[in-house]
């Protein structure tokens, strides 16, 4: 037996390699760098590697090949768009993470212990959050371009493990934060097991772990259909868990609430892009010809997800939990794009992911600003009268809410229109009707928050809007501008997506 050396296309892998390299440098800084300058150097390395990765991505944007890494990574237009989206979202989120006020001083210290008090007195900082972010980003970059199931699984673990840790880093209410991290980890591990189980079945079905091989077996139609069905079902469970689709959503409200807000924003936006990227690829490429096996189930899940997310969000009293349920509803809308299984469905999904991800980071950025002496205030009742205290911040948040609700002149509207029309075009009338109805329900709770902020008087309980740091300001300004511009002049981005989004098979 001879051993063939793997042939790698380094240029196409460069974005991922750069991010991973940055993460490793971050680990070294953590080990050997002087404590005083650690925060600054970590921030610099993180931002620099994200920017460099983006530049590397731009350089190879027009290439496409199945052989970026021996058939395990497919490099194509859709992959470039998704990776670019993830990098932009990551960069904006890092600006929020840089505001260390939200993070515990020493993650390893037991809550309430003398060690914790000491670390607070010393004003330590969790600079390890930066390399963790970069590891997660690298996993996210790999996730939507994986073209075999093993790589898919590795990418899933690579993006998940750092996120489990990051969810537990909150400075205040640490027990809740750690509980949410544990919950996320246990349920995440469970869903990973499901995914792996599905991989095994699909291997049994097609004797292959590559998407191309599975597609060929489905087209050939010679395999055992029970294995195929079980495989698709289990893999779907693993992936739908990551996007928080009903009934695999139970973790998301708790984790959204418990995690430090900057991390929640990053997780909500970037994970969704990565996971939907992977879902799109696997359903559009590997399972496309088994459409009739999975479509009815996915339609049902999409409808239940939209309606459930919208209805339950109405009863929420916490802004982060409300956004969590709203993100569940949006996962339902995004599934409409998967179900469309057409070029316009793919374009619409990518546009929606970009628009939604950007608005999500911005909205969580605003949430970090509303605080009292004990940290962030997420109880919605205490947000009342925010419009009086800080008209600008409240207006920006209201604008993001209107974008989530899909009101015209925001990016959300264009996204909603394109994704529903793509779904309807391929005959999913039920999706269209459910989507419109749940949008109407969703409008109710978004507007309730606007009423609370603008039409109620402030309660005097020390809640205030802090003056944001320059980096946080940048994130909020950039995200709100993008949301507005995409609402008024979406044509350039839509054209760009339309001309370059495709999956290589």
């Amino acid at each position: 037996m001879t051993f063939t050396a793997p042939v790698l296309n380094y240029a196409q892998l460069a974005p991922m390699l750069i991010v991973l390299g940055g993460a490793l440098i971050g680990v070294l800084i953590e080990a050997f760098g002087p404590r005083a300058s650690r925060h600054a150097s970590q921030l610099f390395i993180t931002v620099a590697s994200l920017v460099a990765a983006f530049a590397a991505l731009v350089r190879v944007r027009n290439q496409s090949s199945v052989d970026a890494a021996m058939g395990s990574v497919g490099f194509d237009g859709a992959g470039v768009l998704l990776q670019g989206t993830i990098l932009i979202i990551a960069l904006l989120s890092v600006f929020l993470i840089a505001d260390q006020e939200n993070f515990t001083a020493l993650a390893a210290a037991v809550p309430g212990s003398s060690e914790e008090r000491e670390s607070l007195q010393l004003d330590l900082r969790v600079t390890e959050v930066y390399p963790l972010t970069l590891f997660a980003v690298a996993g996210m970059l790999l996730f939507p371009v994986s073209t075999d199931l093993i790589t898919l699984f590795v990418a899933l673990e690579m993006l998940s493990l750092p996120l489990y840790l990051m969810a537990g880093l909150s400075r205040r209410r640490r027990l809740m934060s750690q509980e949410s991290a544990l919950k996320y980890f246990l349920l995440g591990a469970f869903s990973s097991a499901f995914l792996l189980f599905g991989v095994a079945y699909l291997y049994g079905y097609s004797n292959s772990v590559t998407f191309a091989g599975i597609q060929a077996s489905i087209t050939g139609g010679s395999g055992n259909d029970v294995f195929l069905l079980l495989g698709i079902a289990f893999i779907s469970v693993g992936l739908l868990f990551k996007v928080g689709a009903v009934p695999f959503h139970a973790w998301s409200p708790d984790v959204y609430q418990g995690a430090p807000t900057a991390i929640t924003g990053f997780m909500a936006a970037a994970t969704k892009v990565a996971a939907f990227g992977a879902i799109l690829r696997i359903f559009y490429v590997a399972f496309a010809n088994a459409e009739w096996q999975w479509k009815p189930a996915l339609v049902l899940i999409a409808i239940v997800t939209m309606v459930f997310g919208s209805v339950v969000a109405i009863t929420q009293r916490d802004v982060k939990r409300m956004l969590a349920y709203s993100s569940i509803a949006h996962a339902g809308f995004l599934l409409a794009g998967v179900i469309a299984l057409s070029k316009s469905g793919l374009d619409a999904s990518i546009f929606y992911l970009f628009a939604y991800g950007i608005a999500t980071v911005g909205a969580f950025g605003v949430v970090t600003l509303v605080r009292d002496s004990a940290g962030e205030v997420t109880d919605l009742n205490r947000w009342s009268g925010l419009g009086k205290r800080s008209p600008l911040v409240a207006s920006v948040f209201a604008f993001f809410l209107l974008a989530f609700a899909g009101i015209p002149l925001t990016s959300g509207f264009i996204g909603k229109f394109s994704i529903f029309s793509a779904a309807y075009e391929t005959g999913s009338t039920a999706i269209l009707i459910a989507g419109v109805l749940s949008s109407a329900i969703a409008a109710f709770f978004y507007i309730r928050v606007i009423v609370l902020m603008f039409f109620k008087d402030p309660v005097e309980d020390g809640t205030s809007v802090v003056i944001p740091s320059a980096l946080t300001t940048t994130t909020i300004a950039v995200t709100s501008l993008i949301t507005l511009i995409l609402g008024i002049f979406p044509a350039p981005l839509i054209n760009f997506i339309e001309s370059s989004a495709f999956f290589i098979r």
Binding site: A405, I407, P408, F420, I433, V436, V451, F454, A491
Partner: protein, 505 residues
């Protein structure tokens, strides 16, 4: 530059001008807003004179690509119908600004925000009537809810927040149903000659639709417009909103925004879905007749003067809807003229009622009495507006109400006969408050009310002038409206019933 585009840009520039004036210079802000609206009114009148009423195609057309991938254009143009409504809107805007000179002062926010909202709203009001691209229309249709929402909730009185939310939720619900229909149209257009939103091309599409599809799409549009107009039983938001809003906002809400509903019925329901319109005509006529009578009965029972005007409007919108769905040229001309006249008579009623309320400090009809002696100018203004509202011959509404009834009678005599009772009831609901509030002995609390000041007189004079002038000589408007109405009906093959010669034999 295109007349319509420049008319839309002017208020937008005005709002920017207002935005840069410091908040404490309230007078400057008001002057800037008044100046802008006057300029827009002048350009509206100029467009009126440039308009060629013999030409039934869209005029002042401008088409620019907006989102080419979806076939969406920035496309504006007016026929006689749209022009009349735009003229009404731009004439009412300066009246509203001048009449409500101090309206912004009791608000939650500064006068600056008030006038920015008014000016932005004016842009959208022009846009919604001028749009000849269904998508563009929808964008204006939905986006204009937001400024109105803040105008009601921020500057109104009483239960303003609740009323604003009710208004917004009702409208959003209707809007989302319409969005579903628009997506349906978009998808169907894609399979018949390429995606488009052009109203002209879409009006051919009904030939390819199954009756079920056409009926469903029709309902999506119609329900949205019936909420907007409002037609019984979707009217319940209107009295609350009108009672809570400032008089000026109410004028814009009832006078202009609600017309978008009846305008949309002609422009979209009838033009895009002629067969479905015929199918639903009996049902809609029943609703319209119920609106006429129900609104009138509620008005008779109303104790609050603003609610009274809102209820009378429900009755009037019943007439307009009936005229539209009678599908005769007389009915259509009457309905269009009615929209214009209702704008002015409602404006007069609301503005004078607003002055009465602010002077007396109460909106209960029973609190007024004998105003004729104390404040003759105010009382006479209210009287004339009231007489116009009950369609007294010689005042503008008479002509339109007469045309609607005649136009309906030729095809649906029963509906017309029942609707005629609305006129009798109108006499009651107007004469009762006129008698209570204006005539008889001056009741305690009313002795020292000041009469209208110069500003208020200047504001109301043009409105009264229009009411009287059009009552005697409606020809200038009808000359523009008639060809447009005939054209709308002719294009989709609606014909007037031929008078039967054998009827008398």
């Amino acid at each position: 530059m295109n007349a319509l585009t420049s008319m839309m840009l002017l208020p937008l520039l005005g709002s920017l001008l207002v935005a840069v004036i410091p908040s404490d210079q309230t007078l400057r802000i008001k002057q800037a807003a008044l100046g802008t609206t006057l300029l827009v009114a002048i350009s509206g009148v100029m467009a009126w004179f440039k308009f060629d009423s013999a030409n039934t195609s869209f005029q002042f057309v401008q088409i620019a690509q907006w989102i080419p991938s979806f076939g969406i254009n920035y496309a504006v143009g007016v026929d006689g119908l749209a022009l009349v409504l735009i003229l009404m809107s731009v004439l009412l805007a300066p009246v509203v600004v001048l009449a409500g000179w101090n309206e912004s002062e009791g608000g939650r926010w500064s006068a600056k925000v008030f006038y920015i909202l008014i000016l932005v709203l004016e842009t959208m009001m022009i846009g919604v009537f001028a749009a000849t691209d269904v998508f563009l229309f929808y964008v204006f249709f939905e986006a204009m809810l937001i400024p109105v929402y803040f105008l009601i909730g921020g500057y109104g009185s009483g239960e303003r927040a609740a009323a604003a939310v009710k208004f917004l939720l009702y409208s959003l619900f209707g809007g989302l149903l319409m969005l579903a229909s628009i997506i349906g149209l978009y998808v169907i257009s894609g399979t018949h000659g390429g995606h488009t939103f052009d109203i002209g091309q879409l009006s051919e599409l009904h030939k390819f639709m199954s009756p079920t599809t056409q009926n469903l799409l029709f309902l999506g549009f119609f329900i949205a417009f019936a909420i907007k107009a409002p037609v019984w039983p979707l009217h319940t938001w209107l009295p609350d909103a009108a009672a809570a809003a400032t008089p000026g906002t109410s004028v814009l809400l009832l006078g202009v925004l609600d017309k978008v509903g009846t305008f949309g019925m002609i422009r979209f329901c009838l033009t895009l879905f002629p067969d479905a319109s015929k199918t639903f005509t009996p049902v809609i006529l029943v609703f319209a007749v119920i609106s006429i009578l129900y609104g009138a009965f509620l008005a008779i029972g109303a104790r609050d003067i603003k609610r009274l005007i809102a209820y009378t409007s429900i009755s009037h919108f019943g007439f307009i809807t009936m005229g539209i769905f009678a599908m005769t040229t007389q009915g259509h001309s009457g309905a269009t003229l009615y929209m214009f006249n209702h704008g002015f008579s409602t404006a007069a009623l609301f503005l004078v009622a607003g002055w009465m309320i602010s002077r007396r400090g109460s909106s209960t009809i029973a609190d007024f009495g004998g105003l004729q002696r104390v404040t003759p100018v105010m009382a006479w203004s209210f009287f004339i507006a009231g007489m116009s509202s009950l369609a007294l011959p010689g005042l503008s509404s008479f002509v339109s109400e007469f045309l609607v009834l005649v136009g309906t009678y030729t095809r649906y005599p029963v509906a017309a006969v029942i609707a005629t009772f609305g006129i009798v009831l109108a006499a009651l609901y107007i004469l009762i408050p006129v008698q209570k509030a204006l005539h008889g002995p001056t009741t305690p609390g009313n002795e020292n009310l000041p009469d209208l000041n110069l500003r208020e007189k200047i504001a109301i004079a043009p409105v009264i002038a229009v009411i009287v002038a059009l009552g005697f000589y409606p020809a200038p408007l009808l000359n523009v409206i008639n060809p447009a109405s005939a054209h709308v009906l002719e294009v989709q093959g609606f014909t007037d019933p031929v008078p039967s010669e054998s009827a008398g034999k």
